[in-house]
């Protein structure tokens, strides 16, 4: 399980072990201020980060950030 949240400290304090930094409370998985293609690209990077988190062994709550760009980065 990986939690995607705009407020990772809260998720991690509540015990979520894999947390990906979401964008904002009102739009966790994207940014409506971006063009549709840029928004989709951001969302893709976020999901890629989530997949990487699922494949990463963790021993305690850990925050995973989304890369700034570049295919496959996480």
């Amino acid at each position: 399980m990986v939690v995607v949240s705009a407020l990772p400290p809260l998720a991690m304090q509540a015990g979520a072990n894999r947390v990906v930094q979401g964008v904002k409370i009102e739009h966790v998985c994207g940014d409506p201020a971006l063009s549709p293609s840029a928004d989709q690209a951001l969302r893709r990077r976020l999901v890629v980060a989530a997949l990487r988190a699922l494949e990463t062994p963790v021993v305690e709550p850990r925050l995973f950030r989304v890369s700034d760009g570049g295919e496959g980065d996480a």
Partner: protein, 344 residues
């Protein structure tokens, strides 16, 4: 004369509701909104000299700016006492109130807030002096009265233990003598438990369990992944009548053959944040478009065709735990190897 500083969010300060949750910190002289009632409660002994306002989103999304604003306010105003909220069950507001209390105490200024016992703000600052409240602002009057009473005791130095003086336990145990030995008390507690009589534990266990991390997904290329959300994405029209607040159910929605969640067919019914962007583009909460693209590219095996959805706004912990177990069982039956839970 007690000089009181009051922290309020954008709603109770009268700025606006969720659409204004990004309101940056602002100081105003004197009391605002509920602060006026505080003035009435302390008349003769004190007054609210300053109010700090901040939007709930701003405080939580820009914690460094918020912290600086609170510290500047405390230094400039120099209150004798800080009151924060009450925030009731509001998670972002409660987190902000807890942080305001923490910063005040760090500046040696006593601070009191009012929170529902399950408010996540208590997770972030366990030592907050908080009176317990219900989950609705209908309880504002009693909450303020309790906050002022607690504050008076703190300022007078007469504050006793939490159970006695009616505030939420702060996780501090002080040594002292009891009338009977531990062995006698333990046996009495066990006898009561076996007989189904009420008993009072001496060491409460934290409600938030520490769950050991699951091992990583071993074979992502063949793994089935699932999407889960507490962000309240539901079919348009909300056929299951999922509540905007205090919901105790979750629902399954079929994703078979769906590459996208259009705003014609889906909406966001979460009542705890400004959900218009999410209604206009549900992918901002449930990233189905990205998941399908990555599925087609072979980044993972397949997407489970069930979206598990609820509204996490003011959801009771016991319901959250039950939902987690029930959703977990469903995902296990579907042989799901990993899940994305998008929370708001």
């Amino acid at each position: 004369m007690l000089r009181i500083g009051h922290y309020l969010n954008q709603f109770f300060a009268g700025i606006g509701a969720e659409a204004h949750a990004n309101y940056p910190p602002e100081v105003r002289e004197g009391p605002l909104g509920p602060g006026r009632a505080v003035d009435g409660l302390v008349k003769g002994n004190g007054r609210v000299v300053s109010t700090l306002i901040c939007g709930d989103n701003f405080f939580n999304e820009y914690p460094d700016d918020a912290r600086r604003a609170v510290q500047d306010w405390l230094a400039t105003v120099g209150p004798d006492l800080v009151l924060a909220g009450p925030a009731f069950a509001a998670g972002r507001y409660g987190s902000a109130c807890a942080e305001v209390c923490r910063l005040a105490e760090a500046a040696h200024i006593p601070a009191v807030t009012g929170l529902h016992p399950e408010n996540p703000g208590l997770l972030l600052y366990k030592r907050a002096y908080a009176v317990p409240t219900g989950n609705s602002a209908a309880g504002m009057g009693p909450a303020l009265a309790a906050m002022v009473a607690l504050a008076k005791k703190r300022v007078a130095g007469t504050l006793g233990p939490a159970a006695q003086d009616g505030y939420l336990p702060r996780g501090i145990r002080r040594p002292g003598a009891r009338e009977t030995t531990g062995a006698d008390r333990a046996v009495a507690m066990l006898a009561a438990k076996l007989a189904g009589r009420p008993f009072q534990t001496e060491i409460p266990v934290d409600k938030y369990d520490a769950v050991p991390p699951a091992p990583p997904v071993a074979d992502m290329r063949h793994a089935t992944l699932a999407l889960v959300t507490t962000g309240g994405i539901v079919p348009k029209g909300n056929p299951d009548r999922i509540k905007r607040c205090s919901e105790n159910r979750w629902c399954e929605y079929d994703l078979t053959g769906l590459d996208a969640l259009s705003s014609d067919a889906y909406e966001c019914v979460h009542g705890g944040f400004f959900n218009l962007p999410a209604c206009q583009n549900p992918h901002l909460v449930v990233p189905l478009d990205a998941m399908r693209r990555l599925e087609r590219e072979g980044a993972f095996g397949q997407l489970c065709n069930v979206l598990c959805s609820t509204v996490g706004n003011d959801q009771r912990l016991a319901d959250c735990q039950r939902h987690g177990q029930e959703i977990g069982r469903l995902l296990r039956r579907r042989e799901v190897a990993g899940a994305l839970l998008v929370a708001t």
